[in-house]
Amino acid sequence: MLIPHPLLGLRDAAEFTYLGDAALIERPEGDIENAQDVFHNYLFLRDNPAGEHRELWFHEQGDRSWLVVTRNTVTHEIIKAELARDVAIQKGRST
């Protein structure tokens, strides 16, 4: 698989390590009500679709940026790659 890195162009997937479901960006606050439930679901119940999946890849052997890659899990086709930083900022998070 080749991942279209937004800054570096097409890079071999072997340069990356994989973390999982991109929802891991959205870490809940620790002081909310039901924190135990919310953190259980955040950590253990992830999306696992057959089809398009948004997921976190880390460019460990490259520029060490985190990417949010949209990939089809049935065909391994990569549809989109964004900097995880940009995704987090769009969601209103500070850098």
Partner: protein, 416 residues
């Protein structure tokens, strides 16, 4: 029809005209007491033990493809009972004991071969860990022997002992471990279950559940609606997809694991060996091919094929352990889809939906568990309580803080 040596001779002398199909080809009835989704090893074993041990009646196994076409026919056929943790060890020991009596029980030649599994160690720390694991195995009723370098050399003289980085310092030998002909396991259980009246329905894909007031009433399939008293999902690899139809999220990611077979060689590798410095395990099939594998590819996948970096990694590990295989040609490679759970351990449990049961999350260790997983799922279906060896495999164990993390990796499925 009972299979025996006498029968083979008789059929040979009479033109093999007396063999019948090993199981019936049936259409689904309107409803059953038990419907098991997934005609793999686990589902068929569950149906068999449910009928044989727990007096279950009116049982159906529904399979979207053909028997033996899923992971039971795609694995590397290794069976073992060399687990460390209390939640796992009794279960896998129970499974290995069932393997030992399987062929007589099923009247089917599954080629159970207890040829021994050797886990190599390359450092003092690994030797300590192997000693600890071996002691735990013995305490739990399994067998283990710690070999030194010379002990390993006697069994496998052709390994690369003097590798500068990873010299072989010894190994943990589990003599009762070995291999089993994987397809024959599916066929043997299917035939034995069929003889007990279980309906095995192939080419019948489940497309939905009928759930009313928190109770499952049946399953929608490509061959029509089937009513059911109890439904069990036993579809490791596709668990997330099937359970999503019941509105459930399960702590599982689907990953692809590749495996490889070489061209046939003369007898070379008598048992199963695993490399301690890279992820590589290898045995030789009775046809002569070297059967080997290594790590999963590491990203969510439902494609039954992997990518080349892992192929390279596995073969590099193999050649560094057994330099002689550098000249061997690869015959084929393939991928299978694994339920990778959040702690590397499986689930055999009730769900919050009444009458719906779940067996999955087997990571890449489901094959060795086949008999015990079937037995324990049958026990759960019949009695609504977990079998004594499978009490740790609960769906809510992350919520309650009882993860069974054999490798100590935490909630990172691709590292288990």
């Amino acid at each position: 029809m009972h299979y025996s040596g006498f029968r083979v001779i008789k059929e040979a002398l009479t033109g093999h005209k007396g063999w019948g199909p090993a199981w019936r080809d049936v259409a689904p009835q309107k409803d059953y007491d038990y419907v098991i989704i997934g005609g793999g090893g686990h589902g068929l074993a569950a149906a068999y033990y449910l009928a044989r041990e727990f007096g279950g009646k009116r049982i159906a196994v529904v399979e979207k493809g053909w028997l033996g076409g899923g992971n039971v026919g795609r694995n590397t056929t290794i069976v073992r009972s060399n687990y460390l943790l209390d939640g796992n060890a009794p279960f896998y020991e129970f499974s290995l004991k069932l393997w030992e009596g399987l062929e007589k029980e099923l009247n089917y030649n599954a080629m159970v071969s207890q040829r021994g599994i050797l886990n190599l160690v390359h450092t003092d720390a690994q030797r300590d860990a192997a000693r600890r694991r071996g002691n735990a195995m013995i305490l739990n009723g399994s067998d283990a022997e710690l070999l030194d370098t010379e002990g390993v050399r006697k069994l496998y003289p052709f390994l690369n002992y003097d590798n500068a980085r990873f010299p072989i310092k010894g190994g943990l030998l589990h003599r009762r471990g070995g291999t089993v002909r994987h397809d024959a396991v599916a066929w043997g259980y299917a035939r034995a279950a069929d003889r007990l009246g279980v309906d095995i329905i192939q080419n019948c894909e489940v497309t939905g559940f009928k759930i009313e007031a928190g109770k499952v009433l049946g399953v929608e399939t490509t061959r029509g609606y089937i009513g059911a008293g109890k439904v069990a999902s036993s579809v490791a690899g596709s668990s997330s997809r099937v359970m999503a139809m019941a509105g459930m999220r399960v702590p599982i990611e689907s990953h692809v694991l590749q495996a490889f077979v070489s061209e046939a060689l003369k007898p070379t590798i008598p048992g199963v060996i695993t490399y301690g410095a890279g992820h590589f395990y290898c045995s030789q099939s009775d046809k002569g091919g070297l059967v080997f594998g290594g790590d999963i590819d590491g990203y969510n996948s439902y494609a039954s094929r992997g990518n080349l970096p892992v192929v390279e990694d596995v073969i590099e590990s193999g050649v560094s352990l057994i330099p002689a295989i550098g000249r061997v040609r690869l015959l084929r490679s393939w991928g299978g889809i694994m339920d990778m759970s959040m702690d590397g351990s499986p689930f055999i449990d009730k769900t919050h939906i009444e009458g719906l049961y779940f067996n999955g999350g087997w990571c890449y260790g489901g094959f060795k568990a086949t008999p015990a997983a079937g037995w324990c799922l049958a026990h759960l279906l019949a009695k609504d309580t977990p079998h004594e060896t499978a009490t740790a495999y609960r769906l809510d164990r992350f919520r309650t803080g009882h993860a069974v993390d054999e490798k100590g990796q935490g909630a990172q499925p691709n590292l288990h």
